[in-house]
Symmetry: C2
Subunit: 622 residues, 2 copies
């Protein structure tokens, strides 16, 4: 019998040319444990570039990792400066009106929006790794702060507490983001899928636009809620309060902004038109109010703005307030969403960063230029905003928000993946009709449900033989395939886990039943072999192995032989440890479906397959 | 160019013998939606047996489905009755002491335990589908009711309210089980894996055994908590209260019970010894107390039991009590656990059912016999239990519970699957050190985390060529495989979903980096092709497609060609709808890794691979 490992009396003539299936060599538990930890938490192998370097080189590389300015700084040229100057001033002209507008979204003093475009860009210039990114205020995060804190504390009635809570919330947002990075659990953000982000952003943008109805219509009283029903009820319950002056002004400016954006989109060379448009509307609007004294005819203006720079506000954190949990919750959600938004849209720059890129920035120095421009504004130009009408800010916000409602992406989701579309709509409807948290929870729940459903209800399908080949593929996908008489080949398309083992047992029994019924009705040869193609079974747990043992019993009872094809490394390891390889017989595990079929056919035509005495022979124990 | 679909200028000489990859024919949305709903909720196709039957036959089959007695009743013979009589009396002798003991676990009057072995078996005999199952009290469910309700209401201080809450809880347990069945969402139970059940049952059994220390040591005061720390503190804080008479009696009876079980396990023919042992200990214990008047010397006895049958207790449900939520929660958890226990152990009968099977029952009629025997006991024999010492009941419970601590299964889990072992231990420790709910939540959380981790961190590995074949397999599992010069073949071992698309992008880039570094250091031919084996990619969502698009950009930038091998039906459908097939080029998708490698090799030796002008040719748009 020679090569005892792979030659078996009953099939030896065939077995000699078949490939054996390997059980991977056993690994010490702690080594494999360490490996899987590493793969889970350090998939990017962050220390790779430090390998095989001298200690001083390692130190320098480490410093560069934290301060990328050390990398590009020494190579900085006057040519770069010229480009960065132009792009920096361009993004400043966008950042200033955005800063003032988005601060209003968060119910914070407009001046704070300008601070966000002043200090953070300076820090980013030293520590940031992207040269195109333009740091500043973000609409959705501003809205989140505004709506979540606004539920608890009224910003107009209690401005100091509200301000302090906002500081505290941003502190926790930063703390969360830093911990996610340091603890290497950024993959939590992965659970916010692309579809979730599209729906969520669209919903948030819709909510923000609805909020602007207050400014556009010049209303004095407005609901604290953000859901569409409350907002529309609030708007239409005070139709007599609508200010037509304000409305007309808003519509005109919005039209101008949208037109400039449309034009820039059509002719990318004129990107600066849409970049300059917000500042232009601010200047035009302020001039118009100043000249016509419209502030006395129902057009609200920003009013007095504090000039100069604020002292640092470390002392303003409130860690002892009864509202601390609100601040922490707001911070956490804002942090997660901002991170997810950053990652999701990071690869196709948005708004301000797109402008920065188009303006030809060369390094993060453009952020420094922007910061200086904003500082200049803070120090000397704030009085100029006194006459800026609020309706202009609303128009700027609406115009920016319309860009976030990515209906084309939603249509694409519908076309490509209905489930993703449902996730997207769940997030959108949740945000618009309830609240941001509800939208988020709905979308994540649907997404995770989909993952669990994928595992709980894996696809199983029948394979057939591609004519004139030894290739076996799904009979549904390849209708030209031929059945193999007497053999049922099933593919299981997911790992076999506790969550699907009951289902798979039911489903496999049904496949066998149906195949037997079919063969009976056509009067063909009866079923003799069931081959499982395990190529797509990435892993198996103990519940899965029990399932296989039960299926083996079922097939034995019906006089069928169970054959496995191409089990992977993990599966073979577990089948070996649980002795299932001995149960099924090592000679019934093949490397490819083709070889399994060939072996079955060989036996089918030389001897009866249910030679049960074979099972008791010693070679099964090899 | 003839057959324009599959012949491409640059590779046509090879392409002609390669197999095309099919995009499955488009299916109407509602048809595929209906199909997936059906697969999710009706995997067993319950109406299969009704197909192609006359209406009257359908009605009869449906009636038989609900009342299996209609199936076996007409075929019932005197021979069957003889067997069922013997097995029915045997299980009654086990059910009576079990009923009284388990009622004590639930802090309910012992008589109620007997009712459970009287009415339910009669119903089961008509409607049950298993002939071996012996209906009756279940230890873990009894413990759950006792511990969860006991947290809220003291059974000794407020027995009527407690009793009514227990009724209400069992009502909701039944309601839940019925709804799970009717709504076809029984798969919720699948999320309690085998490992969870082993750990949970072991933990519950440990808790029950700890509770018996009260009875064994004859303690009058005892903690209401079930966690090990409270119980041990309660036991050891009153060492001076221990009753040695009680302890000695308990130890002797426990030893006898364990010995009989050990003996029956070694010699299955004498199963009746362990089946009769509990009743024997009850009789012996009662006789002993009666003769020695031990009840006056520190051995507690059951005392007076109500004789006769109770009226129906429909009126005793309390739907208005402030404790309703407790009752509902208790009912829900008890219902889920009982169901999971039933399903998990259903295939290797436990305790009472094993005895029924061994005693040779033929039909569910054995349950009727048991019910009659129990009724007889209720009507005439309850006074005999007056002198039954509580310590005997404790010994019976401990002996039964020791059988539920399946340490061999836990060792098996450790050997086969470390993760399952962690799940099992999580459930065990949670139940023993905190509470049943905590144990359950821990185990389910770890299990679901594992599923999510499987999807979030899929395996990717390099494939090599098995010598003298066109088979490509993992180089780790098959160390004899050879590298293919200039080609990196990667296998992705899970569906590509939002949860893993970021990870996969990182990991794939790293594989390419590492391969290029390796080739550079050995000075071999540079990398030209990257082939993804998609055999194990069961599905892809829009985030996954974006990932592929990004990877395509990365490979393009490095002058590498991206090639796909064997994408499945779902994947091809999505790639087609999202136009990724056009992006990658239809001629770069092959049916097998072997054919993909052959085509790459062909090109590698005839022309340069990064002939970028090729991408702009019209045939890409086919």
């Amino acid at each position: 019998m020679g090569n005892a490992d792979y030659v078996y009396p009953s099939t030896n003539e065939y077995r000699q040319c078949a490939h054996p299936v390997a059980v991977p060599p056993p690994q010490p538990f702690f080594k494999s444990f360490k490996n899987s930890l590493k793969e889970t938490f350090f998939p990017d192998d962050p220390l790779r570039q430090f390998k095989n370097k001298t200690p001083s080189r390692k130190f320098f590389l480490g410093l560069q990792y934290f301060l990328p300015i050390l990398e590009w700084g020494p190579r900085y040229t006057f040519q770069f400066l010229k480009s960065d100057l132009i792009s920096g001033i361009t993004i400043a002209s966008l950042a200033i009106p955005q800063g003032i507008s988005y601060a209003k979204l968060a119910n914070l003093p407009p001046i704070l929006g300008l601070y966000s475009s002043f200090i953070p860009p300076l820090i980013y210039a030293m520590m940031g790794s992207s040269r195109d990114l333009a740091v500043g205020t973000v609409a959705v995060a501003s809205l989140l702060i505004g709506s979540m804190l606004g539920d608890e504390v009224n910003a107009t009635e209690n401005p100091t507490l509200y301000l302090h809570l906002a500081f505290t919330a941003t502190f926790f947002a930063g703390l969360l983001q830093a911990s996610l990075g340091l603890l290497r659990v950024g993959f939590i953000v992965d659970f916010l899928s692309h579809a979730t982000i599209v729906g969520f952003m669209g919903g948030a943008a819709t909510v923000v636009i609805l909020q602007q109805l207050k400014g556009i219509l010049g209303l004095q009283h407005f609901t604290q809620s953000t859901d569409i029903i409350s907002v529309l009820r609030s708007v239409f319950s005070q139709i007599h309060e609508w200010r037509w002056e304000s409305g007309v002004l808003g519509a005109v400016f919005l039209f101008f902004l949208l037109l400039s954006r449309y034009f820039s989109k059509r002719r990318p060379k004129f990107f600066w038109i849409s970049a300059m448009a917000p500042l232009t509307t601010v200047i035009l609007g302020s001039l118009l109010v100043y000249l016509t004294h419209a502030e006395k005819h129902g057009v609200d203006v920003i009013g007095n703005l504090k000039k100069g720079l604020n002292p640092p506000s470390f002392g303003d954190f409130v860690f002892t307030s009864p509202y601390l949990t609100t601040a922490v919750k707001t911070g956490m959600i804002t942090g997660i969403i901002a991170l997810a938004e950053g990652i999701a849209v990071g690869r196709r720059p948005f708004s301000r960063s797109a402008v920065n890129f188009n303006a030809g920035c060369k390094t993060a120095m453009s952020n420094v230029v922007m910061a200086i421009a904003v500082m200049f504004t803070l120090l000397f130009l704030t009085p100029l905003f006194h006459y800026t009408p609020l309706v202009v800010l609303s128009a700027i916000i609406i115009s920016a928000m319309l860009g976030l409602i990515d209906y084309e992406a939603a249509i694409h989701l519908w076309k490509v993946d209905k489930f993703d579309f449902v996730v997207c709509m769940g997030a959108y409807i949740g945000v618009v009709f309830a609240s941001v948290e509800v939208g988020l929870v709905i979308a994540v729940a649907i997404s995770v449900l989909r993952l669990l459903l994928f595992v709980a209800r894996p696809k199983t399908f029948v394979l057939g033989n591609l004519p004139n080949s030894t290739i076996y593929r799904s009979v549904e996908q390849y209708p030209t395939t031929n059945d193999v008489p007497g053999i049922l080949i099933l593919q299981i398309d997911a790992p076999i886990y506790f969550a699907n083992s009951s289902y798979l047992r039911e489903r496999i029994s049904r496949w066998i039943d149906e195949e037997e019924d079919k063969l009976k009705s056509t009067g063909e040869t009866s079923l003799q072999y069931v081959i499982f193609n395990m190529s797509a079974v990435g892993n198996i747990d103990t519940s899965g192995i029990s399932m296989l043992e039960e299926v083996k019993k079922i097939t034995d009872r019906r006089g069928l032989k169970l054959v496995l094809a191409n089990p992977g490394a993990e599966v073979m390891k577990k089948l070996n440890k649980s002795k299932f390889i001995e149960t099924i017989g090592k000679e019934w595990i093949y490397l490819t479906v083709g070889e399994a079929v060939e072996a079955c056919n060989y036996k089918l035509h030389t001897c009866k397959p249910d030679a049960t005495n074979e099972d008791s022979q010693p070679w099964n124990k090899v």
